[in-house]
């Protein structure tokens, strides 16, 4: 069953000629046919195109191309529907883009292709990446493979489901306030949010440009390292990508963690943290301590202000970024009598309610008379939050916490209460405000058999240490090997 393999397992078998890329791709496509009507991880996929890429990969393998030169040769990877893949649909989980078809390729996709990957599928998401449950998809809510009555998390819900349910070997998501880490946690896979500037965002449809970052969702930490090494690096086409060498993240996996210090923020022991989640995360931290790291309490004093600052900054940036969806250059157009009415009708009919709510909130906090009181104040609080982390990282190398305060909740449970939905992002949001890196790895299950995630946060461009700790923990446990039975 090739679809159940990790990247490193699959590439070993491809290299040994035990498997072909075509068999692997067909195995993933068959798996999608078997389970995706229950899970809704995919908005669409182009089977013919995937098979054509697989045939080319098999030809390359037959010609002697090796994985040293093309580390993803023959590996099917599915893509969140917010990243442009040339000549494939791009809808951002929204109706407003209609039958938009990408005229160009995102840099991350070009890099994956250069590494030999088979790029297939458009993965379901909260509309324009706004949400924590994938219930805001304009098409259909994605479902958690461990319990299909529950949400998979969001906004990269489809990306997490596709990997956790073995529909894809790995996937790409995007993370603006936790949108990779939280669904990875709730679905029981690995999700890595790189440091802001580590990965090019060229070809990522912007939600909040100072917070957005593309990252991988994978079946284990080694695969996350493999993916980051490929997609990371400076790009002339993204002026916020940082010209800084990409280290060998695979080598970093076996880094010594005995000299590392792990911090536990005392502010993270809060009301709303589920006792089962807490005990799993506590046990995981203890395990990391047993492996030789030193654990100590730290303080992030401005934690309680992070969500408020985030929802001002992110919505303000969103209101500007989403102004481009005006019915003129692409997507759907509604109404036609008058240009302004056409804009209003198009946006009124094309956007879903959460997107409207955020654009309106963002417009309000940027509007005359409120700009200083909300937007500038939130940016100043962002400085305080970032300083909290930079100060903490003088004392410790890694910060550990739950990824999400609870396991997956029921579909519909929070849909009428946006503020409650926002509050579930408490542990992930600060990393985006502080522009640091973070990873979520499986660390246990609730009594109801729902996955629990451990979040590790690292310094800006500290992905090597982050991966070494995650990998050491993963080597000592088997949570990451468990897979849901979808029925």
């Amino acid at each position: 069953m090739p679809h159940t393999l990790t990247i490193h397992e699959l590439t070993a078998k491809l290299a040994a000629k035990e498997l072909t890329a075509c068999e692997t791709t067909r195995s993933c496509l068959d798996r999608i046919t078997a389970v995706d009507s229950k899970l809704n991880a995919f908005v669409s996929y182009d089977a013919e195109d995937a098979i054509a890429q697989a045939e080319a990969a098999d030809q390359a393998l037959a010609d002697g191309v090796c994985h040293k030169d093309k580390p993803l040769l023959g590996v099917p990877i599915a893509i969140k529907d917010v990243i442009a893949v040339k000549n494939q649909p791009l809808s951002c989980g929204s109706k407003i883009l209609g039958d938009f078809n990408s005229p160009y390729e995102a840099t991350v996709i070009r890099k994956l292709r250069d590494a030999g990957a088979i790029i297939f599928g458009r993965l379901n998401m909260d509309e324009f990446a706004m949400g924590s449950s994938t219930e805001n998809s304009a098409f259909k809510p994605a479902r958690n493979p461990w319990d299909t009555d529950r949400i998979p998390g969001g906004s990269s819900g489809g990306s997490a489901v596709a990997v956790a349910a073995d529909e894809s070997i790995a996937s790409l998501g995007s993370d603006t306030g936790g949108s990779i880490r939280q669904p990875a946690s709730l679905c029981g896979c690995v999700g890595l949010k790189p440091t802001y500037g580590r990965v090019s965002r060229f070809g990522l449809v912007a939600y909040a440009s100072s917070l957005d970052q593309i990252g991988p969702l994978t079946k284990d930490t080694r695969d996350a390292a493999t993916m980051l090494k490929i997609i990371g690096g400076h790009d002339m086409r993204d002026s916020t990508s940082v010209p800084r060498e990409v280290p060998d993240y695979i080598e970093a996996l076996d880094g010594d963690i005995k000299s590392l210090k792990i911090g536990l923020p005392k502010e993270y022991q809060m009301a709303g943290l589920d006792p089962e989640v807490k005990s799993s995360v506590d046990a995981a931290v203890l395990r990391i301590e047993e492996l030789g790291a030193e654990v100590r309490e730290i303080s992030l004093p401005h934690t309680e202000y992070a969500i408020a600052a985030y929802y001002i900054i992110a919505t303000a940036e969103a209101s500007a970024n989403l102004a481009r969806f005006d019915g003129v250059r692409y997507g759907q157009r509604f109404g036609s009598a008058d240009p302004i009415e056409m804009n209003r009708d198009t946006r009124g009919a094309g956007f879903g309610e959460e997107v409207k709510r955020r654009i309106i909130l963002g417009t309000y906090v940027l509007s005359s008379g409120y700009y200083d009181a909300y937007y500038i104040r939130a940016q100043k609080v962002r400085t305080l939050i970032r300083e909290d982390f930079l100060k903490a990282f003088e004392e410790v190398d890694i910060i550990a916490s739950p990824t999400s305060p609870t396991a997956a909740f029921k579909i519909g449970e929070k849909v009428d209460d946006p503020l409650q939905m926002y509050l579930s992002d408490i542990y992930t949001i600060s990393a985006n405000l502080a522009s640091i890196c973070g990873i979520s790895i499986p660390c246990g299950f609730t009594s109801g058999n729902l996955p629990i995630g451990l979040q590790l946060l690292g310094r800006p461009f500290g992905e090597e240490q982050l991966l070494s700790v995650a990998h050491a923990y993963e080597q000592a446990t088997d949570w990451h090997t468990r897979r849901p039975t979808v029925n």
């Binding site: 209609g98 938009f100 078809n101 005229p103 160009y104 802001y196 440009s209 100072s210 002026s239 916020t240 940082v242 401005h302 202000y305 408020a308 600052a309 929802y311 001002i312 005006d326 019915g327 003129v328 250059r329 692409y330 997507g331 759907q332 157009r333 009598a337 008058d338 240009p339 302004i340 056409m342 804009n343 209003r344 009708d345 946006r347 009124g348 009919a349 956007f351 309610e353 409207k356 709510r357 654009i359 309106i360 909130l361 417009t363 309000y364 509007s367 104040r377 939130a378 940016q379 100043k380 962002r382 400085t383 305080l384 970032r386 946006p418 503020l419 926002y422 502080a434 522009s435 800006p460």
Partner: protein, 92 residues
Amino acid sequence: MEIDLQHVVNLARINLSPEEEARIRPQMQEILKYVDKLNELNIDNIEPTAHAVPLTNVMRADEVQSSLSQDDALRNAPRQADGLFVVPKIVE
């Protein structure tokens, strides 16, 4: 504080149905009440963070490079003619 929703919706150019307006209005009030907690902090002498990238004035050489073709730029347009986007009449 009562939010002037009509004014903001007008700025954002989004038509809301009466039902949407009825749902969104109290939600906005609740969210704004929540974010008011930022007023608890003393932010005197704190510099705002717009982004945290250690970069300023990223430039490239001023040389012509290839970009999207006109056909590609227009291929997703809801209406087009003669290589142009077509919009409703703006000037009478």
